[in-house]
C-alpha cells in the first residue's frame, strides 16, 4: 500500500480534483494507495510513511520526500507527463 499526500490551500476544491484523478490513475494501474487530503500547512505533521507528496500549488519547501506538482490535473495541460511522473515514484 502506497501512501500519498495530496495537499492544497483549502483541502477542499483543488485537492479533491487531484486526489480523484490520482485515485483513478492508481486504480487503472492496479497500485493500491491511501490518499491523505490535507491543507498545505499540515504536510509537515503527516510525513510518516508517505511515499509521495502532490500539491496543486507550487511549493518551494523541500519535505525530503518525492514530490510532484499536480497543477496539471486542474489545468489539463501536460496531464500525461504528470501522471507518468507519479507512476514512476509508485512503481
Amino acid at each position: 500500500m502506497k501512501k500519498i499526500i495530496v495537499a492544497c490551500g483549502g483541502a477542499v476544491a483543488t485537492s479533491t480534483v487531484a486526489a480523484s484523478a490520482i485515485k483513478d490513475l492508481c486504480k487503472a494501474n492496479q497500485i493500491p494507495v491511501e490518499i491523505i487530503q490535507i491543507l498545505m500547512s499540515e504536510i509537515e505533521s503527516n510525513l510518516d510513511g508517505v511515499d509521495l507528496i502532490v500539491t496543486t500549488m507550487r511549493i518551494k519547501k523541500d519535505f525530503g520526500k518525492p514530490y510532484v506538482n499536480g497543477m496539471a490535473f486542474l489545468s489539463g495541460v501536460n496531464k500525461e507527463t504528470t501522471e507518468e511522473q507519479i507512476l514512476s515514484y509508485l512503481k
Binding site: G10, V12, A13, T14, E42, S45, M57, S75, G76
Partner: protein
C-alpha cells in the same frame, strides 16, 4: 397544474441534503456519467451537507456559549461565530440560486470571451459559489430571484476582469504562466493592494522598508497547523470565558475537531460537483484553446508561496486583534483563520513579496471585511436557516469569506439600500481602488509590450 406545483414544492421541501443529491444524480446522468458514478456523486454531495450540519452544530453549540461568556466577562460583543468559507459555501450550494449560478457564470464567461471583454477561461467551477453567495444574499434581501441571478452575473463578470488585471502578477511573481485567478476572495481584495503600493512608493524611507521572513515559517510554522491553532484558540477562549480546567481543555479539543473536520466534510460536496466541473472544463477548453486565453483557476494555487505562508501565519493574530478594534464588531473570527491566506495572497504578488506592505494592505482588507460581515449577519443567518444549518432559532451566524465581501455588499446595497452611509463609504473607497487598478493594469500592459519589443530588438 396544481399537482405539478405540489410536486415541485414537495421536492424543494425535502431539504438540500436530499434534493441536491437527486439533482446532481440527474445532471450527472445527463452529462453522460455511468449510473454508478452519477449515483455516487449525488450521495457524496448529500454526505457533505449532513457532515457540515454536524460540524456547524458542534461549533455553534460549544463555541457560541463560550464566546458569549467571554464577551460578558470583558464587556465586548464578539459573540457571533465566523463560520468561514467551509461553513458558508455549503449554505450557498444549498440555496435555490446555486445550481442555476453555474450555467449563468459559464454563460457570462463565454459571452465575454466572444465579445473579447476577457481572456479568462474560468474552469474553476467550485468557486462559482462566491458569485452564487452574492446572488443568494441579494435574493434574500430583495425577494427577487431575477435580481439574484443578475447579481451572480455581475459578480462573475467582475471576477473575470480581476483575473485579466492580475494575470501579469500571477505570471511574474508566482511564475504561473497562462493562468489567471478569477477568484471570489483573493480576487476582490487584490485592487486594494494597488493604491497602497502606489502611495507607499511616494513616501521616503517607508518606501524602502522590506521585511523578509524566510526563517519565520521554520520557527512558528507548527502554529499554523490548523489542529494546533484550533486547540490554542479554544483554550484561550475557554480561559477568557472563565471556564474551569475541564471546560477549557474540552473546548480546546472541540475547536480543533471543528477546524479539522470542516474541510474534511466539505470536500464531499466538491466530489459531488466533480462530474459537472469536469464536463464544464473539457467543453470550455475545447472551444477556447490557444495561447491568447488564460486558464482561470483557484487562487489556492498561490498559497504555497513562502511569503504568502508567512503572511498567513502573521494574519491569524492580526485578524483577531483587528476584530477587537473594529467599531461595533460582533464577530469572532474563527472558520476562516486557517486559510486567511486567501485574503492576502494576491496582495503579496502585487507587493512583490514585500511583507511590510502586505501587512498594511492586509490590515485594511481585514478591517473592511470584518466591518462588512457585521452588516451581513442578518442576511447570512437567513441563508443558514434556509439551508437548515442552524441548530437553534436564536443563534446568528457570519463569515468573513464571503460575508465580508465588498462586491456582495455593494451589489446588495444598490439593489436594496438599507445603509446609505455604508454604501457610499465602501462604494467610494472600493471604487477608487478599482479605478486605480484599471490604470495600473494599462500601464503594466504597456511596460510588458515594451519589454517584449526590447527583447526582439536584442535578438
Amino acid at each position: 397544474m396544481e399537482t405539478i406545483l405540489y410536486c415541485v414544492q414537495y421536492f424543494v421541501d425535502l431539504g438540500a441534503a436530499v434534493m441536491l443529491p437527486i439533482v446532481i444524480f440527474i445532471v450527472a446522468m445527463c452529462l453522460g456519467q455511468s449510473f454508478g458514478k452519477a449515483l455516487k456523486s449525488g450521495i457524496s454531495i448529500g454526505i457533505g451537507f449532513i457532515g457540515i450540519g454536524l460540524v456547524i452544530g458542534l461549533m455553534l453549540n460549544n463555541l457560541a456559549p463560550a464566546a458569549k461568556a467571554m464577551s460578558a466577562n470583558f464587556g465586548i460583543s464578539m459573540n457571533i461565530i465566523d463560520l468561514g468559507w467551509p461553513g458558508s459555501s455549503p449554505m450557498t450550494w444549498a440555496s435555490s440560486i446555486a445550481l442555476v449560478a453555474i450555467p449563468v457564470a459559464i454563460a457570462v464567461n463565454i459571452l465575454m470571451l466572444v465579445l473579447k471583454l476577457t481572456r479568462v477561461v474560468n474552469i474553476d467551477i467550485w468557486n462559482i459559489w462566491h458569485f452564487a453567495f452574492t446572488g443568494a444574499i441579494i435574493n434574500i434581501a430583495t425577494g427577487s430571484y431575477t435580481l439574484g441571478i443578475l447579481g451572480v452575473a455581475l459578480h462573475a463578470a467582475y471576477a473575470y476582469k480581476i483575473g485579466d488585471w492580475f494575470a501579469p502578477v500571477t505570471e511574474k511573481y508566482f511564475s504561473l504562466k497562462g493562468i489567471a485567478m478569477p477568484h471570489g476572495t483573493t480576487g476582490w481584495f487584490a485592487p486594494i493592494a494597488v493604491p497602497v503600493d502606489l502611495i507607499l512608493n511616494r513616501i521616503p524611507i517607508i518606501k524602502d522598508i522590506n521585511i523578509n521572513l524566510e526563517s519565520f515559517e521554520k520557527h512558528f510554522g507548527s502554529l499554523g497547523d490548523p489542529a494546533i491553532m484550533g486547540t490554542i484558540m479554544g483554550i484561550i477562549i475557554g480561559i477568557l470565558a472563565g471556564y474551569d480546567v475541564r471546560g477549557v481543555l474540552t473546548l480546546g479539543i472541540q475547536m480543533a475537531a471543528v477546524i479539522i473536520l470542516m474541510p474534511q466534510v466539505v470536500k464531499h460536496i466538491m466530489s459531488g460537483l466533480l462530474p459537472v466541473s469536469e464536463t464544464a472544463r473539457t467543453v470550455l477548453q475545447k472551444h477556447f484553446k490557444n495561447s491568447t486565453f488564460y486558464i482561470g483557476l483557484d487562487c489556492a494555487l498561490l498559497l504555497g508561496d513562502p511569503a504568502v505562508v508567512a503572511a498567513s501565519l502573521l494574519f491569524i493574530p492580526i485578524t483577531i486583534f483587528i476584530a477587537a478594534i473594529v467599531p461595533g464588531n460582533q464577530i469572532l473570527p474563527f472558520g476562516d483563520l486557517p486559510t486567511i491566506g486567501f485574503f492576502i495572497a494576491m496582495a503579496v504578488g502585487v507587493h512583490g513579496g514585500n511583507l511590510f506592505r502586505t501587512l498594511i494592505t492586509g490590515s485594511i482588507v481585514m478591517f473592511m471585511t470584518i466591518w462588512i460581515s457585521n452588516q451581513m449577519i442578518g442576511l447570512h443567518t437567513v441563508l443558514a436557516a434556509n439551508a437548515g444549518q442552524l441548530t437553534s432559532s436564536v443563534s446568528q451566524v457570519a463569515s468573513l469569506d464571503q460575508g465580508g465581501s465588498p462586491v456582495t455588499y455593494i451589489l446588495t446595497q444598490i439593489m436594496n439600500t438599507t445603509n446609505v452611509g455604508g454604501l457610499a463609504l465602501i462604494g467610494i473607497f472600493y471604487g477608487a481602488c478599482v479605478v486605480c487598478t484599471y490604470f495600473w493594469h494599462k500601464k503594466q500592459l504597456t511596460a510588458m509590450a515594451q519589454e517584449a519589443e526590447l527583447r526582439l530588438e536584442n535578438k
